[in-house]
């Protein structure tokens, strides 16, 4: 089994963060400039799901936190809710690994959609809990669904790119240092 050295993790993290910054700028500035204000896909979720699905490194939790920190520069959501949810997702992936299949585009889309729904349930719950108002729970949850469908459809291509960034294909699934 392959190992990820500190250098590879550092490089992968930098490249992933740069990709996220480009996508965040696209979402926050370019789409609104085109008049698309109500459609804001959360690419940070897709990146965290990729890390959770495909990387097996002891520092995974910190990587998720870094991704969420970069996201917090473009959103007042902050890093904490996403980091908490991301670590929970990565822990659940460990137990569901045998059931997850990324061999075809369709299976990738389905798996990503299921985990996105779980993500939005968790974040909507945490946000409602934080705000002390569960009246908007379903609204918070449903408003993310159209974007999540778009992200799921994009996920095979997106994972293909991130596979190259993290060299997952040549290394299969990496293992701890």
């Amino acid at each position: 089994m392959n190992k990820y050295g500190p250098k590879e993790i550092l490089l992968g993290t930098i490249k992933t963060c740069l990709l996220l910054i480009v996508l965040e700028i696209f979402t926050t500035a370019f789409l609104p400039a085109m008049g698309i204000i109500n459609f804001r896909p959360e690419f940070n979720v897709l990146i965290v799901l990729f890390l959770a699905f495909k990387l097996e490194t002891p520092v995974l939790a910190w990587l998720i936190m870094i991704v969420q920190y970069v996201h917090s520069l473009f959103s007042i959501e902050g890093w904490a809710i996403g980091a908490f949810t991301g670590v929970l997702v990565s822990m659940s992936v460990r137990y569901l690994k045998d059931m997850l299949d990324f061999s075809t585009a369709i299976s990738t889309i389905i798996v990503v959609q299921i985990f996105q729904v779980a993500w939005f349930v968790a974040t909507s719950f945490l946000l409602s809990l934080k705000l002390g108002d569960f009246g908007n729970f379903f609204h918070l949850f449903w408003q993310d669904i159209p974007e999540s469908l778009a992200l799921s459809i994009l996920s095979p291509f997106f994972f293909f790119v991130l596979d190259r960034v993290w060299r997952v294909k040549s290394k299969a699934v990496g293992v701890a240092i």
Partner: protein, 289 residues
């Protein structure tokens, strides 16, 4: 190898626990009404915001390209030079028209609210928040321009929100569409008090209005001036839906904001005169240091 795996899984578990605990602490201390930024965060926001701002000019260039180049691919070569000149002139006219429109908008904005005893700072929208859950705008003015946290933000049509997060050259505005922004308001016709709270999708809700109050669809909502954030009398929106349930003591009132957030390009930040000079001095000192 076995020992190695056990060690790495323990390390992973330890990391997971540390990050989860940190995240729980982060959630606990996160404030969705007002935010302080660290120097590092301010530096990163300052670094990325100009790129976000650049997206606006990219749009104009793309629109120009589509309008003036792609549509004329099949024109004959004989007319190419003349058409180029016409295109250049058209581009110039287009740019002049845009500048004229912008000037008119800015003039109207500056003329607006003369009766409000505060200094006005014009700002342009740079970007929107990356999360759907939050309705936050980023503008191209910051503490160096005299802005302060919780400074109210308006347009000539009405209330936009207040300054939530601030860096020297940029500021994040928590709009009235966000559920974390609560505006103490009154119904202009009946002087009924209530709290306007965002419910997203460009609608707000007027809460805590007693069901015996005779408010009607079309009634205008203005700021009450309480709460030390917004000056009194700024338009918030109009009542567009009222639901009186058979139970409960309040009415469910939906308010459509006066500001068209779809078409928002420039805003005015209201600041106290003393605040402005003080902040500028501080920003200057920081720059000198």
């Amino acid at each position: 190898m076995k020992n190695f795996t056990v060690d790495s899984s323990r390390w992973k578990l330890a990391n997971n626990i540390i990050v989860v605990v940190l995240a729980l602490w982060g959630i606990a201390v996160q404030n969705y009404s007002l935010k302080d930024v660290s120097t590092f965060e301010a530096f990163l926001i300052e670094a990325f915001a100009p790129i976000q701002r650049g997206a606006l000019s990219t749009r104009e260039k793309l629109a120009n390209m589509l309008d003036h180049y792609v549509m004329i691919v099949n024109t004959s070569k004989d007319n190419a030079e003349l058409r180029k000149e016409v295109k250049a002139l058209n581009n110039q006219i287009f740019e002049f028209q845009e500048v004229k429109k912008e000037n008119e908008r800015l003039k109207q904005l500056l003329q607006f609210g003369k009766e409000i005893p505060r200094e006005k700072v014009l700002a342009q929208i740079v970007s929107w928040d990356a999360s759907n859950e939050f309705k936050v705008l980023r503008i191209n003015k910051g503490s160096a321009d005299g802005l302060k946290k919780m400074s109210p933000v308006i347009t000539m049509n009405g209330l936009v929100g207040y300054v939530y997060r601030l860096t020297p050259n940029y500021a994040d505005i928590l709009t009235i569409l966000d559920q974390n922004n609560r505006v103490d308001s009154i119904v202009a016709r009946t002087r009924t008090h209530g709290i306007v709270e965002g419910i997203s999708e460009f609608k707000c809700r007027l809460k805590y209005v007693n069901r015996t109050e005779k408010v009607e669809v079309g009634d205008e909502i203005i700021t009450a001036g309480l709460g030390n954030i917004y000056p009194k009398g700024i338009k918030v929106g109009k009542i567009t839906q009222i639901d009186k349930e058979n139970y409960g003591i309040t009415q469910s009132i939906v308010v459509t904001p006066s500001v068209n957030f779809h078409k928002l390009e420039e805003v005015v930040v209201l600041i106290e005169k003393e605040e402005k000079t003080e902040n500028r001095d501080v920003a200057k000192e920081e720059t000198n240091e």
